[in-house]
């Protein structure tokens, strides 16, 4: 085994001690791929991947063991999600022509407390199936809101039109149906807890989510074929140094 393992100390009763280096500036030069060291400042084991141009890690090709690293070197610091897996018939209307907010009905929300004020929060919303509760409207307006703010962080609009009488049996009396995908990124700004809320509706009345019209207001309670999930997910990514 001589030559296969080179370490600062190997002792049967004390374990293996890795060489210590303080900060990336003091790491070994011309390292071999797979070289494992200990950063005594960060208190992390680092392994050299052999790629000095690696832009996915703050230390170039030095990757901290056990870290997950994504999005151009920004580590994921946290995650939370919320949503609904049952039909929600909504409530008040929402229109692009409204003069004040918040718009419509609140369907679901998720709370999050950032671990750092400098983090970026990536928020992704998906409502895979929604529509009029009855035939009353011709467009959908939804918003992503924070806390009790009247102004949305991000608005979404669609005037998706189902061809009248083309196939009304499954839509019941509602003939507009749509789906929503919305993404938003904001600076955490602080480590204070906050709640993100999904609100919206149709311009002339309520909008149901996880179903549509009359026939699908019970969805997915119509047998065992399908489950459905309207959701909001939040990733916290480490801010740029």
């Amino acid at each position: 085994m001589a030559g296969d393992l080179t370490a600062g100390q190997v002792n049967l009763t004390r374990g293996v001690k890795l060489p210590n280096f303080a900060d990336v500036a003091n790491y070994p030069s011309s390292p071999d791929i797979g070289l494992l060291i200990f950063d005594s400042t960060e208190l992390k084991m680092k392994v050299w991947t052999g790629d000095p141009e690696d832009e996915t890690n703050p230390g170039g090709g030095w990757v901290a063991v056990g870290d997950s690293v994504v999005l151009g070197g920004n580590k994921s610091l946290g995650f939370n999600w919320g949503g609904l897996s049952t039909y929600n018939g909504g409530g008040s209307s929402a229109s692009i022509s409204s003069s004040s907010g918040p718009l419509g009905h609140e369907y679901y929300s998720v709370s999050y407390t950032p671990s750092s004020a400098t983090s970026k929060l990536f928020i992704s919303v998906n409502i895979p199936w929604m529509g009029e509760t009855s035939n009353h409207s011709d467009h959908f307006t939804f918003g992503l809101y924070k806390d009790s703010n009247a102004t949305a962080l991000a608005l979404w609009y669609a005037d998706d039109r189902y061809q009248d009488n083309a196939d009304s049996d499954y839509l019941g009396s509602g003939n507009h149906q749509c789906w929503l995908k919305l993404s938003y990124v904001e600076d955490a700004g602080s480590t204070a807890p906050r709640t993100y809320r999904i609100r919206g509706g149709c311009n002339g009345g309520a909008c149901g989510i996880n179903g549509s019209g009359n026939s699908y207001q019970g969805f997915p309670g119509q047998g065992t074929a399908f489950n459905i999930q309207s959701n909001i997910v939040i990733f916290e990514f480490e801010g740029e140094a």
Binding site: V70, W129, D167, Q222, G223, T224, A225
Partner: protein, 165 residues
């Protein structure tokens, strides 16, 4: 509150994907609807992890002019009940049918995500099924109408991200 991203697995297809089976949103028994279009396999490191599964296709539609609705569902392994479902009666107005659409007059993008809690460390295959109400669905094109290769490619993506529970 969950935490870090543990791993990421993806499947990307940049050619036209065609299914033949129809998708009935009124189906009530546990059996898959539509055709299998794309899959991704991931082996969780921890049983309490969350899985964020996301399916994105930029250009899809009827394989021919047969339908006025489309549906997609994500299934876990060989289960017959979906973990996520979408349905859309997207209708292109006939009278303004563009010439490039050929004989198919419904096309659409799809972006679908679900958070799964599989509670296992065994390998998981997530399967995206899809179809139109009256026939098959096509991804990265529709009805034989695709982008010229001189312009680039459409990419249909399915990923599974394991997140610390």
């Amino acid at each position: 509150m969950a935490g870090k991203i543990i791993q990421y697995q993806q499947t990307k297809i940049s050619t036209v994907i065609s299914g033949s089976a129809s998708f009935n949103p009124a189906h009530t028994s546990a059996s898959r609807q539509g055709s299998e279009l794309i899959t991704v396999t991931i082996t969780p490191q921890f049983a309490n992890s969350l899985m964020l599964v996301r399916f994105m296709t930029p250009y899809a539609g009827e394989t021919s002019n047969h339908s006025n609705q489309v549906g997609f569902a994500i299934y876990r392994n060989n289960e017959q009940t979906s973990i996520q479902t979408m349905h859309w009666p997207h209708r292109y107005i006939d009278s303004t049918l563009p010439s490039w659409a050929g004989g198919s007059n419904h096309s659409f993008p799809v972006d679908l995500q679900v958070v799964d809690q599989p509670n296992t460390t065994a390998s998981i295959t997530y399967r995206v099924y899809g179809g139109c109400r009256g026939g098959g669905v096509q991804l990265n094109g529709m009805g034989g109408a695709t982008f010229s290769s001189n312009l680039g490619s459409c990419h249909t993506l399915l990923y599974a991200m394991e997140i610390e529970g």
